[in-house]
């Protein structure tokens, strides 16, 4: 290493704070945006408390349909009727034509009457969607 040249030495030692701050701010913006997106997908519902299936691989960017305790359907913070849900799913299905298909994650409130889940299941079947995921809340203490 040649460190005798004073000019070279200054270049090595001088930390470039501006680039560092740039990178930090880009990371902050990224995390703020993604965390906001996740919150938008998940409505406040009390999911069924079950272990779930450990073999189910987490879907990448699934379409999340929330069902509240009083049977309202919510997608990305927007409350909609079943017809609205059908339109939104159909749009997703059309957009992903030729892809692996739309992945749907249903987050139902455990106190909701199953009739709302059944109506959604029927509507999904009408559109040719045969697989879905039912989100559960992992229990705090292990279930025997």
């Amino acid at each position: 290493m040649r460190l005798h040249d004073p000019a070279l030495r200054e270049r090595i030692i001088e930390p470039d704070l501006i680039s560092l701050v740039d990178v930090v701010f880009i990371l902050i913006i990224f995390f703020l945006t993604t965390s906001a997106l996740v919150d938008r997908m998940r409505a406040k519902v009390d999911l069924p408390v079950e272990r779930g299936d450990p073999s189910v691989v987490e879907a990448r960017s699934p379409m999340v349909i929330n069902i509240t305790a009083n049977g309202r359907y919510i997608i990305e913070e927007r409350e909609m009727t079943l017809d609205g849900v059908v339109r939104a799913v159909r749009q997703q299905v059309d957009n992903r034509e030729g892809d692996l298909g739309v992945q749907i994650s249903v987050r139902p409130d455990r106190a909701a009457p199953a009739v709302h889940l059944n109506r959604l299941a029927d509507a999904l079947l009408e559109m040719g969607v045969a697989t879905w995921r039912l989100a559960t809340e992992v229990p705090r203490s292990p279930v025997p």
């Binding site: 079950e50 189910v56 995921r133």
Partner: protein, 144 residues
């Protein structure tokens, strides 16, 4: 290595980063993230296939599938399979473990039970070792 203490005032200015302000900013960001983070319970998922009731009925004539009905029986939610009634998911799971797994199992939910009760049946079937679990939405209030 010697980096030349006291060589020139200009070099010292270049070499001294404003670490105090940088640390201030980082701590402020940390505090912001701690305060703005909301606790979300860990989620899992179940992945039963979807099947219309008419298809399930069509198959029942040939294969006699194993169907778990989640419905209100005598005023209380119950699971019914092969004429046997279970009042909790654990006893249903114990029964399901004795059944052959290759045929799969159908979970048929009436509209008047809660989603939590229905998902309990799916979880019991998963825990019992079934890999082919099919959700059949019942169109009327009770089991058919």
């Amino acid at each position: 290595m010697r980096f030349g203490h006291g060589k020139s005032a200009a070099r010292r200015r270049v070499m001294r980063p404003e670490l105090t302000s940088l640390i201030d900013v980082i701590f402020l960001l940390l505090i912001y993230f701690f305060l703005s983070t909301t606790y979300a319970a860990p989620e899992s998922a179940l992945e039963p296939a979807l099947l219309a009731q008419r298809e399930a009925a069509g198959r029942s004539a040939d294969l006699q599938p194993q169907i778990v009905d989640a419905a209100i029986v005598d005023g209380a939610p119950a699971y019914t399979i092969s004429g046997q009634t279970f009042r909790d998911a654990r006893s249903l799971g114990a029964m399901l473990r004795t059944l052959p797994k290759d045929m799969g199992v159908f979970i048929r939910s009436a509209g008047d039970v809660t989603v939590g009760w229905t998902v309990g049946a799916v979880q019991a079937a998963t825990d019992a070792g079934f890999t082919r679990i099919t959700y059949v939405p019942a169109r009327s209030g009770g089991p058919q």
